[in-house]
Every structure is written in structure tokens, then in C-alpha cells.
């Protein structure tokens, strides 16, 4: 079922029969899917479906009890988060995580990859290279901030930003790591519609210009239907359906899962 899309290019990420329990609670139970390169895929499902846990498993914040995860054809399950990121797979968090007591610019510059200045020995041994890279990282960070309309805030503490601005900063910061695949956990939550749609415009543009792949978790069905090329539906830790937005909209299992959720909520 994971290879039903039949695209000629190999998938950028493959998740195969992944399991994860916490103290007896099965958070992810046999999830499998594949992500097409250059696509924008939405991951949906009711609360408690295991979406965030799945993100954690993919990005190394938790190790699966069983199953395989392959990024660019290579297994990454159980790797620490920083190794996963260095391979080009970056994520954001459901609750935004900015470095509050650092400036917005420092938040951005931190994320730049390959900085000699981050090594104690290289600080001395490669002093000039370090200073050059630092300059370049600064340029890139400022350019990115400009792109996201945050350049006016560069010198402010990130903790002073509004919720929406934090979401933008988190995305901009993630992009500083030069990723090929970006996992966004509820990028729209707490963001006003105008800003939210700016953000998604940016995502679409990045996909178009830089060929990046995106997987995002979202609850707003309108946005999912309008923006996603492909939709994966999770319930109770497993993938219960996937396909184009239109196909998903009509899938009875999806409706069931959501109705069940709605019933339990009342």
C-alpha cells in the first residue's frame, strides 16, 4: 500500500511498520507510509492518533520499539536528533520552541550548519574560516528574516515575539539548516489566518524553487484540502488511509475516525 503511488522517483522517506509504546500505552502501532520527493503531504488524525509521537520517532527524539524508518534510502531509526537533522531532515514543534532569551538573529544564526566556530579547537585553529562563515551565516540569516518580514525584530529577544511571529521564526530557523525534508507540527496553530496563509505560501514557494519536501500536521481541513498534494490519515497509532485530498474527503474510514473523535469529545 505504501508504494501504490507508483512514482518513478524513489520516496524521500519511508516509514515501515513502526511501533512505539510508553508504559503500556501504544502510541504508534504499525504505522507505514512513504513520502514523495517534492510533495507537500498533510498528516491528519484525531487527537491521540500518534502524529506527534511519529514525528518524534522520525526525527530521533524517540526510538521505535520495532519497525524501520529510511530517509534517502538509509535507515535513520534510533539515530540521535542532531544526526537526523544533519542529513537534511528538520522539524518544528507543536508548541513553538524559540530560544526565548536569545535574540531573533541569534536564533537564526544558531541553526546555520557547518560552523567552525562551534568547535572549541576550531575556534582557534580555524579562526579566519570561522569568522568568514560567521559572516556568511549572518548574511543568510538576515536575508531569511527579511523574507519572513522579521528583519525589524532581529535584535529583539525571541521571547518577545507574538505567537504567529514565533511560528514564522521557527520555520525560518529550520530552513537555515538547509533541509531537503521539513516536518511541520501544526504550523497554523495559534497563527492568524493572514500570517498562516503567508507561511503556507512560503512553503509552496520553497517546494517550487528549492525542491523541498514537506510533511505537516494540521487540524484545519480547509487548509489541508487546499494546500496538500497528498494526505495521510492516522488513528490509534496506525495509518488508516492515504491518498489525494479529494479521495480522503470521501473515505468513510476517515469520517468514522473523526466522528468517533467528535463523539468522545462531547
Amino acid at each position: 500500500m505504501t508504494h501504490s503511488a507508483g512514482s518513478p522517483a524513489p520516496p524521500i522517506l519511508v516509514v515501515e511498520d513502526v511501533h512505539k509504546s510508553f508504559g503500556g500505552v501504544r502510541a504508534v502501532a504499525g504505522a507505514s507510509f512513504a513520502l514523495q520527493r517534492g510533495a507537500i503531504t498533510a498528516l491528519i488524525g484525531p487527537n491521540g492518533a500518534g502524529k506527534t509521537t511519529l514525528f518524534d520517532l522520525i526525527t530521533g527524539f524517540a526510538a521505535p520499539d520495532a519497525g524501520a524508518i529510511r530517509f534517502e534510502g538509509k535507515p535513520i531509526e534510533g539515530l540521535p536528533p542532531h544526526s537526523v537533522t544533519r542529513r537534511g531532515l528538520v522539524r518544528t514543534f507543536q508548541l513553538t520552541r524559540v530560544f526565548a532569551a536569545m535574540t531573533v538573529l541569534d536564533n537564526m544564526m544558531l541553526a546555520g550548519r557547518g560552523q567552525p566556530g562551534e568547535g572549541l579547537l576550531q575556534l582557534i585553529a580555524r579562526r579566519t574560516a570561522g569568522q568568514r562563515v560567521e559572516g556568511e551565516v549572518r548574511e543568510r540569516a538576515l536575508a531569511a528574516l527579511h523574507r519572513f518580514d522579521l528583519d525589524g525584530k532581529a535584535g529583539d529577544y525571541a521571547g518577545t515575539l507574538s505567537g504567529g511571529q514565533r511560528k514564522l521564526l521557527e520555520l525560518a530557523r529550520a530552513l537555515m539548516t538547509d533541509p531537503t525534508l521539513v516536518l511541520l507540527d501544526e504550523p497554523m496553530a495559534g497563527v492568524n489566518r493572514v500570517l498562516g496563509s503567508r507561511l503556507l505560501d512560503d512553503v509552496e514557494e520553497l517546494r517550487r524553487t528549492a525542491g523541498m519536501t514537506f510533511l505537516f500536521v494540521e487540524h484545519d481541513m480547509d487548509i489541508v484540502m487546499r494546500r496538500a498534494d497528498h494526505v495521510i490519515v492516522m488513528a490509534e497509532g496506525a495509518v488508516i488511509a492515504e491518498g489525494s485530498p479529494d479521495a480522503i474527503r470521501a473515505d468513510p474510514r476517515v469520517i468514522d475516525a473523526y466522528l468517533g473523535q467528535a463523539r468522545s469529545r462531547t
Partner: protein, 330 residues
């Protein structure tokens, strides 16, 4: 709560048997092994001595673990609350009142001091949303104030309740001091009472809610101030009881004694899993048994080091202590 999961995944057996049952099995197996190697008399006596140790430590550790688990304060002053309880009881008893009445009054006084400190120090700091570190500094300061105020009035020389610490209960070839037995049983009873109180009473549930999420508890209409104040009162009373039992059963104390056993209390609390009343007891038992059993093989001079080594080894296997939860996530 990603941070929660960055700990290594718990071993599989963890989810099948409750940790306490595992611990009991390990202890029984170890005891059988020791009895085989060293003879049942020696092994049994070391075990009894270990349980006595555990009794002393566990009761003190409960208050510590409550404060840490619920309020996130590393209360470096907790040991000095033990001292306070014991000294107030000593001073009241010196005025001629019967010892049980002196003890009861001392428990009230210590609880009142704990409540007053909450009002004067901790609550204002909570309102200012002070960081954990600043709370640590305040706790160090309070510890110094308590310890040396006691010393100012009572002097630094050793004191004693003058209870009969010589009488012993003999169980076949084994023996333990009568007062040690009383302290041990009282400790276990109180810990169980605290554990049940946390689980079944309304206030207990509120306290646990605070420990899970202070902000959420506040939103859901829990009287957080009242619950916090009560936490301090309970912790203060428990500390006083621990201090009095310790002073009576050990026989001799000076104003430093509470601060000197503070590290053992922390060790027991952490080993058991921070925030868990039974954990404090189990942590105390593990440390106590390990230390006393070690004397069967090593010189007693290594006892303190053995306790700390056991703590580190346990944390390597169970990063959250024996009862520490690896929380489920959605």
C-alpha cells in the same frame, strides 16, 4: 514534553511487572544469596540493620520528595526542619511536659514554621515567578537561618532525649533496638498514610494535580494556594516526626544532624523516584540494605560511598528512579 522521552527507552520488563515487585524479588534473592554465603545470622542481622537505616531515612525523605515533586523546590532546608522538630521537642520536654506532648507540640510548631515560611518567602517568590535556582539560594539561606537560630538558643553541644536506647528486641539470633523498631514501624505507617492520602483524599488529588501541571491546576479551579500551604504543613510535620524519632532512637543529636543526613534523604528520594511517597520508602530500603549488606564484605568505612554508588548505578538502569514514570504521550 519531548524532553520526557529523550531518556533511554525503558526495558521491556518494566511494563510487565510493577517495579516494587521486581525490587522485592531482587531483595529476597540477594538475601538468600547472602544467607548462603555469610550464614543466616549475619545476613539477617545486616538486613535488620539496613531496614532500621531505611526507616530513619525514608520518613525524612517523604517530605523532601513531596516538596520537590509538587513545588519543584530543591529544599536544602529540609534537613534543618528535622533538627527544628527535634530541638523544639527537646526544649518543651525540658520544661517538664511529658515527652509525647512535647513531641506533639513540636510537630505543630514545625508545621507552623513551614507554613509561615511559605507565606513569607515561597509565596512571594512564586508570585514573582522566580527561577528554580533562586529558590535554591533561598533554601540554602533558610537552612542557615534555621540551623544557626537553633544553635544560637540551644548551643552546639550534643543533646539527648534520654530515652532508653539500650533495650533491644530479640528475635531468635537477631536483635534490634526497641526504639529503632518503633521508629521503623511509625515511619512505614506514616508513609503508607501519606501515600493513601495523596491517592484518595480530595486534597491529595489536588496536590498531585499541582505536581503534574501547576498552571493547569490553577485554571481548573483548584485552590492552589491552599493546597501548596498544606503541602508545606504536611512536609513540616513529617520532618518534625522524622527528627524526633531519629533523635529519640539514635540517642544523641546536635544542631547539625539534620543537615548532615540531608544527602541521604535526597539519595533515597531520588532513588525511589522524585514525587513518590512509597518511592522514598523503597529508596531508603535499597540504600539501607546496600550499605549494611556491604559491611559483610567491606570495611564499614565504605558504607557512605556504597550508598552513593548504588544511587548512580540505579539511575543508569532506571533514569527516573524505581517508581519514576516514563510518561505516556499523545
Amino acid at each position: 514534553m519531548i524532553e520526557e522521552a529523550s531518556a533511554p527507552p525503558s526495558p521491556r520488563w518494566h511494563s510487565r511487572l510493577p517495579p516494587a515487585a521486581w525490587l522485592a524479588l531482587v531483595i529476597i534473592a540477594a538475601l538468600a544469596l547472602l544467607a548462603g554465603v555469610k550464614g543466616p545470622v549475619e545476613a539477617g542481622q545486616a538486613t535488620i540493620n539496613g531496614l532500621v537505616d531505611a526507616g530513619y531515612v525514608a520518613l525524612g525523605a517523604v517530605g523532601l520528595t513531596l516538596i520537590f515533586g509538587i513545588l519543584r523546590i530543591i529544599n536544602f532546608a529540609h534537613g534543618d526542619f528535622l533538627t527544628l522538630g527535634a530541638y523544639v521537642a527537646l526544649m518543651i520536654a525540658a520544661s517538664g511536659l511529658p515527652i509525647w506532648l512535647a513531641a506533639a507540640l513540636a510537630i505543630l510548631v514545625t508545621a507552623a514554621v513551614a507554613a509561615a515560611l511559605d507565606k513569607l518567602v515561597w509565596e512571594p517568590m512564586r508570585r514573582m515567578q522566580t527561577s528554580t535556582l533562586q529558590l535554591l539560594l533561598a533554601a540554602i539561606g533558610i537552612a542557615l537561618v534555621l540551623r544557626y537560630t537553633i544553635q544560637f538558643f540551644a548551643g552546639s553541644q550534643v543533646r539527648s532525649f534520654g530515652q532508653d536506647i539500650l533495650s533491644a528486641v530479640n528475635l531468635g539470633p537477631w536483635h534490634l533496638g526497641t526504639l529503632q523498631l518503633v521508629a521503623l514501624l511509625a515511619g512505614i505507617a506514616l508513609i503508607v498514610a501519606v501515600g493513601l492520602g495523596l491517592r484518595f483524599t480530595a486534597v491529595g488529588k489536588q496536590m498531585r494535580a499541582l505536581s503534574d501541571n501547576m498552571a493547569l491546576a490553577e485554571v481548573t479551579g483548584i485552590d492552589t494556594r491552599g493546597a501548596i500551604r498544606l503541602t508545606w504543613i504536611v512536609a513540616g510535620a513529617l520532618a518534625a516526626i522524622a527528627g524526633i524519632l531519629y533523635a529519640a532512637a539514635v540517642g544523641t543529636i546536635n544542631p547539625n544532624f539534620g543537615s548532615l543526613i540531608l544527602l541521604s534523604l535526597f539519595t533515597a528520594a531520588v532513588l525511589g523516584g522524585i514525587g513518590n511517597a512509597y518511592g522514598a520508602l523503597l529508596g531508603g530500603i535499597v540504600i539501607g540494605l546496600a550499605q549494611e549488606w556491604s559491611t559483610l564484605f567491606l570495611n564499614a568505612r565504605w558504607k557512605p560511598a556504597v550508598g552513593f554508588a548504588i544511587l548512580i548505578l540505579t539511575l543508569l538502569v532506571l533514569p527516573r528512579g524505581i517508581f519514576g514514570r516514563v510518561p505516556a504521550r499523545t
